[in-house]
């Protein structure tokens, strides 16, 4: 494991480069196929509305996968992630248009731990709402 960021170069409060991830209906269909999660709330508007959702929503695991990219792109080695957890607080609603939705992720170093580990706290927003809670990753730096 060889992260490209050194432990000594970061401090509590260091901000990671923020990123935005677009998601459309096509993205969700592709993710359903790749992950094997074919729950119709992620692609069938009629079904989603019948179970009380405002529209089709993104897979929580898709949002979780995007959010950690702020950490893996920064660290340089995706294998440097030691722990990663989220709470699914609000759905990412994906309208059936060309634009879809935008997941905006920022992160900062919240704690420096032993063994070159740091804890990064992530914030994932969509449409002005926080879509993940307690989103934290522990990553091993160089």
């Amino acid at each position: 494991m060889t992260a490209k960021v050194s432990y000594g170069s970061v401090e509590v409060g260091t901000e990671l480069p923020a990123q935005s991830f677009p998601v459309t209906r096509a993205t969700l269909v592709q993710y359903a196929g790749a992950s094997g999660d074919f729950n119709p709330i992620h692609w069938n508007e009629k079904f989603a509305r019948e179970v009380g959702l405002p529209d089709v929503i993104a897979h929580g695991m898709f949002t979780m996968a995007e959010a950690v990219r702020v950490v893996t792109d920064w660290a340089g080695d995706p294998g440097a992630v030691v722990d990663y957890g989220v709470r699914f607080t609000k759905p990412v609603v994906v309208p059936n248009d060309d634009k879809g939705a935008l997941i905006e992720v920022s992160g900062k170093v919240a704690a420096k731990l032993d063994d070159n580990l740091v804890r990064v706290d992530l914030v994932a927003m969509c449409d002005g709402k926080k879509v993940l809670g307690m989103s934290r990753a522990v990553v091993r730096l160089a």
Binding site: M1, Q30, G60, M64, D77, G79, V86
Partner: protein, 150 residues
């Protein structure tokens, strides 16, 4: 109706081995739009100290969630799957999942809680490789929402 507390601590038999394919990793990385070379290029992965291409951190969920199905669909437990939503997800990695891994998952019910009519079940999935080494532990919180009053 609250779920039976005696299921806490129950461990289900390990799943049959899932062989992680490099094309499946590529497909997953493309689906999440992640161009990191360690997911598709063995040389790039080796330059980072890995034995082969590695999978994105959340890839393993498709394997652990299928395994958690043993719990969710256990008729004796009686969880109402039509009301289940995914509450929390956590992973603790010993090492990244990589192409060629043959992974088995052992699911354990960590806790069962009842809160305002909702049933909350925490399932731990321990993922081992062919050598029996622990690769990753997945903690999945499922919430079965309270049924509406008739």
């Amino acid at each position: 109706m609250a779920l039976d507390q005696s299921f806490v601590g129950r461990t289900y038999p390990p799943t049959p081995a899932y062989e992680v394919g490099r094309e499946k990793i590529r497909e997953f990385a493309e689906a999440v739009g992640d161009p990191h070379p360690a997911y598709v290029d063995a040389e790039a992965a080796r330059a980072l100290g890995h034995a082969d291409v590695i999978a994105p951190p959340t890839f393993v969920f498709s394997i652990t969630y299928r395994a958690a199905g043993q719990v969710v669909q256990d008729p004796q437990l009686g969880l109402d799957y039509s009301r289940v939503v995914h509450g929390d997800q956590k992973f603790s990695y010993v090492r990244p999942v990589r192409a060629g891994d043959r992974l088995t998952v052992t699911s354990t019910i960590e806790s069962i809680k009842s809160l305002a009519g909702n049933d909350i079940v925490d399932i731990r999935g321990d993922v081992h490789d062919e050598a029996g080494e622990l690769v990753v532990t997945a903690l999945t919180k499922l919430v079965a929402r309270a049924a509406e009053e008739a």
